[in-house]
Subunit: 531 residues, 2 copies
């Protein structure tokens, strides 16, 4: 498998042929006047890549790569703005080296070298950040610390249903290694194929479960983190009240406090019973009320994904005026029909039209299945459209139910105004990826015609407008995409100032040289020195 | 209502008359040779209480009490060792003043005064700490900051089922104020009547729910905390992935980082359907396996409390060889019979003998009901026995399922050896208060005959032995009683050193004068100066 250095996923899985034709046909129907000229990525050899500014001590040289394509592929994540910059050959801020530790001791040694030499370290899992989290966006020397070789399930505790797993393992390999135990982590973010356990933990990734275990946080039993001040290892505990949770300090620390080398995570038995159905609504307000009622009913659906009318049409090919709700329950222990029956009863009470229930294995046979198979192709399709001057990107948040109607209206208004002003129009869609008793996590999609050469600036302006609206209206700047560098201005308004001081002090205690992912979450306490 | 200064709860609710006779009869059957002479508490006027060493600025004088009984009542929490010391008139380390802020601004002003004057501040909720958390166990001057006047539900968001509530409200008043909204927090620790929301948050208290929402942490939407460096207020969010959780730093901070003045907490609709049953077992190992299987089945019982044979006999009057499981499900949305049916099916498969299911309102009519009514009298009974030279105390923990059998055996062996050596014998019981997919939270009870004048030293020796066993065998030094001062030696072995450095740095950033609850969780970064 060859990873694309400039865009999402595998080079051999790009959108071509009939898939491309169909995609472009659909978009042309929306935007008949758009210029769909393809702008393929530049050849890496055509880019003038500066030589590395640092060289490793000989003991670590074997872990280091100065290969140009390697450095290009590690220079940024996979957001729309990353892809667009790559397509334009904008290659500022490359890591000087890509370093691949083979053992935890290698990680310790690399941090020691970099702390002493004043080299910034950007921890790198699968590289799927969409917030500038893996990009050395600063002037000093930097290495990208790629953890791909720490990719093993080390131990499984079948009685407690937990596994000790290395941070660098990608989603599919993790699941492959658990299969012999008949266990699964069931953490399936859209980035699943190209993201790692350590990355999920560092960014508080959201996964498969729409309720209860929404973030990887909830599946974390203990963590092992290499910091420049030593290794922090928490105890395996099902629950504890012994002071503030050590794990919760590292969950979401985005590589600024340490490198997550291992974690014990809570696993699941493979589900034997799975039922799913889709519910359509004439009225979006009623659809939202139905989701709220289901979220507060104590039923805990695995999937409770409300697509608004635009999202239902674009992603699932279903025409509704009020949106479509995909509901699913699963269990390894018992049939879940009573659960689904009560959830659909709630939906019907609020005007929902209930589709046929499907058992496992029927995926792809109806609209819910269509949505699911589309889901994993979305990032590839985004890249195909980015090459053709389209602006295709998402942003996501969460807010409480009392605010949602006003919040959604304000965010959509800000987005639509920005799209109209900047692009002369565009489409906004919304789905709920996760729902809580006290509020939903809405995930918005943007589709707009851009001008080649300007789509980065256009998107940045749109993103700023919607981020302002999110923060002004009581949302979070991110529910599960993390903060990175791109969300900093709004994160800085969101987090309490005393907490920011406490976090900066904690970082100073653990990373006194300030080498770990400078600029992410907090301003550097001390700048990395030049070597 | 007059609170007891020396023991648990209300003065007029002490164990007397028939309840006392029955209690002593039962204990005499176990320990016929014990000397049950009653040692009543000393009169406060008989104690030589030193004058306060500090006097408040005139603007704050109206909030301050130097009353002797007030100071005595705030000098320590309600652990066995606290009660015994009170009974002996051991009154070292009184707070110099009890300060009762009426507003958040008062809290700000008090912290400013104390920071400047080098006076330690011990935040005080209901005073039910059993870990030395509210005791000024140091030599410098100290105030007890009693938040009882910050006792209001300020706002309710019915749509999101959340309430903004002041930190000083006691459990019953909190529930009374929520009743008009038909909502409930459903956080019912054993200390419910004499503990506060702020105290629960500061100590990560465990509550009503045996599964899912086990700690108050899980019911917390946002917090407002007065620190000496400013007020930290997090956003109301149903979920977020924006950096490490600010709330999780303050949850469990035990008054060392700030004073929790308000929180938005997640509320519940009042349950309409409640079913409960008890299951008895011949074999404890099978009982444990049944609980594990139920905890991993995704059924989420409200109650899943396994009493071992000793606990079943002593607290519920049920004779079994393998223990008794109390199972309950509740819902405001739907009948829960399918849930209970599956849980009891699991229990029966593992040798459980299922009692009759009871709906709500039947409480007290059988063994599960007997256990429940006994539950709230336990602390009073503990005091009655403490006056009569008995050692009656609990300790609690959590561990993963794979370890449980060995853990339990090691902890019981350590306890029994200590009891035999120190007291010439004694009884150990165990119940699970909370259960998780990856492990239980066992709660042990100790009943032993002591020697008047020595019961404190005897208990401290027993406690040290069981704490060693807990830490050596992979448990947590506390699942929901907090760390305070009493658990420090074992907490210090449990928490990762780098995390301890980070936490100390965070404290230094927020409380640079080191006035907040010195000695709890972490060593003072800088000692409070003398005034």
């Amino acid at each position: 498998m060859t990873r694309s250095w400039w865009g999402w996923g595998r080079e051999d899985a790009q959108v071509v042929g009939a898939e491309l034709d169909s995609l472009l046909d659909r978009v042309r129907q929306m935007l008949p006047d758009h210029d769909f000229t393809d702008h393929p990525p530049p050849a890496p050899s055509s880019l003038s890549v500066p030589a590395p500014r640092v060289s490793p001590p000989s003991a670590l040289a074997g872990l280091c790569s100065a290969d140009t394509v390697d450095r290009l592929a590690h220079a940024r994540g996979k957001a729309f703005r990353d892809v667009v910059r790559n397509l334009h050959g904008d290659i500022r801020h490359l890591p000087d080296l890509v370093v691949r530790p083979a053992t935890e001791q290698d990680v310790v040694d690399v941090l020691e070298w970099c702390s002493g030499a004043g080299i910034a370290v950007v921890p790198y899992g699968g590289g799927s950040s969409v917030v500038g989290g893996v990009e050395p966006r600063f002037d000093g020397p930097a290495i990208s610390l790629d953890l791909e070789r720490l990719d093993r399930v080390l131990e499984v505790d079948r009685a407690s249903r937990a596994g000790r797993i290395q941070g660098g393992v990608l989603g599919p390999s993790l699941e492959d290694q658990l299969r012999p135990y008949d266990l699964t982590l069931r953490h399936f973010p859209q980035s699943f194929e190209f993201s790692t356990l350590g990355g999920w933990l560092a960014t508080r990734a959201g996964g498969h479960y729409a309720t209860l275990y929404t973030h990887i946080d909830d599946l974390t039993e203990s963590m092992r983190v290499v910091t420049p001040s030593g290794i922090s290892e928490s105890r395996r505990l099902p629950g504890s009240g012994a002071g503030p949770s050590p794990d919760r300090l590292f969950l979401g620390s985005e590589g600024t406090l340490g490198v997550i080398t291992e974690a014990w995570v809570r696993l699941q038995d493979r589900p034997r019973w799975q039922v799913t159905t889709s519910v359509t609504f004439d009225d979006y307000e009623e659809a939202v009320a139905a989701v709220r009622t289901i979220a507060q009913a104590g039923l805990y659906p695995t999937n409770c994904r409300l697509l608004d009318a635009g999202e239902a049409l674009l992603s699932a090919g279903v025409a509704t005026t009020g949106g479509m709700l995909i509901l699913a329950f699963e269990s390894a222990d018992h049939p879940v029909e009573p659960w689904l029956a009560r959830a659909t009863e709630i939906a019907a009470d609020l005007g929902g039209m209930i589709g046929a229930a499907r058992a496992r294995g029927d995926e792809g046979s109806d609209s819910a299945g269509a949505w699911k198979s589309n889901f994993l192709r979305m990032p590839y399709q985004r890249d195909a459209l980015a090459r053709r001057s389209m602006i295709v990107e998402t942003f996501e948040t969460a807010c409480t139910w009392d605010r949602f109607a006003g919040f959604d209206a304000a965010v959509r208004a800000a987005a639509q105004t920005a799209l109209d002003d900047i692009c002369g129009g565009g489409v906004i869609t919304c789905r709920f990826t996760h729902v809580y008793p006290d509020g939903p996590a809405p995930y918005y999609g943007i589709y707009a015609p851009g001008r080649w050469g300007s789509t980065l600036a256009q998107w940045d302006e749109i993103k700023a407008a919607v981020s302002e609206a999110i923060i002004d209206n009581g949302g979070t700047i991110t529910h599960h995409h993390a903060v990175g560098r791109d969300h900093r201005p709004w994160y800085d308004r969101q987090r309490p100032d005393p907490f920011a001081s406490a976090l900066a002090a904690a970082k100073q205690a653990l990373d006194s040289a300030g080498i770990l992912n400078p600029g992410v979450l907090i301003d550097p306490v001390s700048s990395p020195r030049n070597p």
